[in-house]
């Protein structure tokens, strides 16, 4: 095989990979949009607004073998708590399912 032929094969292969993944990209967007609009139509009207960051609430951690694991949040919203738990898991190298959080509290 000559250098030119290998270049053509390489470009063909790269283009092929791109095309397949572009089509997949469009398909995923399409089915996400279809499923999303179908879900909106079937869901009940006026979903209640989630409460603003409450001073104290409990959050269930991801399913573990011990399903009664709940974390107490004090002045911390769900998203921040999730990030904190994910960071602890990542930094320690311990899977989230093996960690038990008792409470997360904002210290001012």
């Amino acid at each position: 095989m000559t250098f030119y032929e290998s270049l053509m094969v390489g470009l063909f292969c790269f283009t092929g990979v791109f095309l397949v993944l572009v089509v997949l990209n469009l398909l995923i967007r399409l089915f996400s949009a279809v499923l999303g609009s179908a879900a909106k139509k079937t869901s009940s009207a006026a979903k209640p607004e989630p409460p603003a960051a409450t001073s104290q609430q409990t959050v269930k951690t991801p399913e573990t073998k011990d399903s009664s694991n709940q974390v107490e949040l004090i002045d911390v919203d769900d998203a921040t708590a999730a990030v904190i738990m994910a960071i602890v898991s990542h930094e320690t190298g311990i899977p989230l399912s093996n960690l038990e959080f008792k409470y997360i509290k904002l210290v001012q």
Partner: protein, 377 residues
């Protein structure tokens, strides 16, 4: 009489048949075991590979011997059929699918493009391999190292160029372990401080229905477009469907634990056992190792450059660092993006954003393998 008996035992032993080439291979096997055990370089594969290499280079053991007449073949000969027939890599992909969360990819489907960009190294390595005198099948097998996907590399190489299997497998898994060293300098070279500091918006929530439909849609599309990719993509998506359906917990658990561990042992030992001295101690092996490094580097370059393009097109919403995660070493490449992003901006959490291209790269490298198999198989 006793001396004669001892002489006969000696002549029939492996010691008498030992050559310097065997000695070198035994030494290489021990070095690889050191890397696996002490340095913890991808030990799950490198340890069985290195031990298989050791077993194959102890003369007269006949573990890889084919059956002759009424005499049965060696143990590893029969176990190797799983590699030869493409069974083990496909089963490992099923386990990988059962362990993978495609949520970040579904939430941001543009990640697929970054996964595609990071296959650039496959093409570059292929072209250079042809220029260095490798035939197209061998060049394709070498190029696929750039996909940073062990099972895909083993699958393609066992079909196209089984002679090069040990060198390619060792190169692929060694470089995957070295990703935290290979990628960061390239990432820093190709991105500006300002680009590395870009914070990305939190990904949307992905519904269970989307996660269940995803593997079905990917399978239908990819296998209809490229039938040759059916074993890899089919098994990957089957494993993922086990995970996401939520109704076959036992099967999902088996796929991602017992099954993948058993297959990893068989795959690793038998791939290692193909590295006989005659196959491994050649100039081609050094070329493959060098080309493998080039493949990894250029894959990172491709992903980062496409990431920069997406950054420009989205007016700064995409951090180019996640492009390097398109190299499908899950989740190591995504972690590297996270670490480099945090070095520039401690408030930057790129891990979940990088997981999208990371898992997209698995699909991308399987598609690339399918195309190469269609062309040269």
């Amino acid at each position: 009489m006793y001396i004669e008996a001892i002489r006969k035992i000696w002549e029939m032993s492996g010691f008498a048949a030992l050559t310097w080439q065997h000695g070198v291979m035994i030494l290489i096997a021990c070095v690889l075991m050191y890397f696996a055990i002490v340095k913890k370089f991808e030990p799950l594969l490198l340890l069985p590979i290195s031990f298989g290499m050791l077993l194959a280079n102890l003369p007269l053991a006949g573990l890889m011997g084919a059956p002759m007449g009424e005499e049965a073949g060696g143990l590893l000969y029969y176990l190797y059929q799983g590699v030869k027939l493409g069974i083990y890599p496909s089963l490992i992909f099923m386990g990988i699918g059962a362990m993978t969360d495609f949520g970040p990819l579904i939430a941001n489907p543009s990640s697929l493009l970054l996964g595609a960009g990071a296959q650039f190294g496959i093409i570059v390595a292929f072209i250079i391999a042809v220029a260095l005198g490798f035939d197209p099948k061998a060049a394709a097998s070498i190029g696929i190292i750039g996909g940073a996907d062990g099972p895909t590399a083993i699958y393609l190489t066992s079909k196209l160029s089984p002679d090069l299997l040990p060198a390619i497998a060792i190169a692929a898994y060694s470089y995957m372990a070295l990703i935290p060293m290979i990628q960061p300098p390239i990432m820093r070279l190709l991105t500006t401080e300002k680009e590395r500091k870009i914070e990305m918006k939190q990904l949307r929530e992905v519904s269970k229905l989307e996660k269940v439909c995803f593997p079905i849609i990917v399978t239908i599309l990819c296998v209809l477009l490229l039938p040759s990719v059916a074993p890899l993509i089919g098994m990957l998506m089957l494993g993922n469907l086990f995970r996401e359906s939520g109704v076959v917990e036992r099967l999902s658990d088996t796929a991602q634990n017992a099954l993948i561990n058993i297959v990893t042992i068989f795959l690793g030992v038998t791939v290692g056992a193909t590295s006989s001295a005659e196959r491994f101690l050649r100039l081609e092996t050094i070329k493959i190792i060098a080309l493998g490094l080039a493949a990894f580097a250029f894959s990172t370059v491709g992903g980062i450059l496409l990431g920069k393009l997406m950054c420009v097109l989205t007016k700064g919403k995409v951090n180019p660092l996640i492009g390097s995660a398109g190299v499908s070493a899950v989740p190591m490449a995504a972690r590297v993006s996270q670490i480099e992003g945090q070095k520039a901006n401690p408030r930057n959490f790129l891990l979940m954003h990088a997981m999208g291209p990371n898992v997209a790269g698995v699909i991308g490298s399987a598609v690339a393998a399918g195309i190469l198999l269609t062309l040269f198989g």
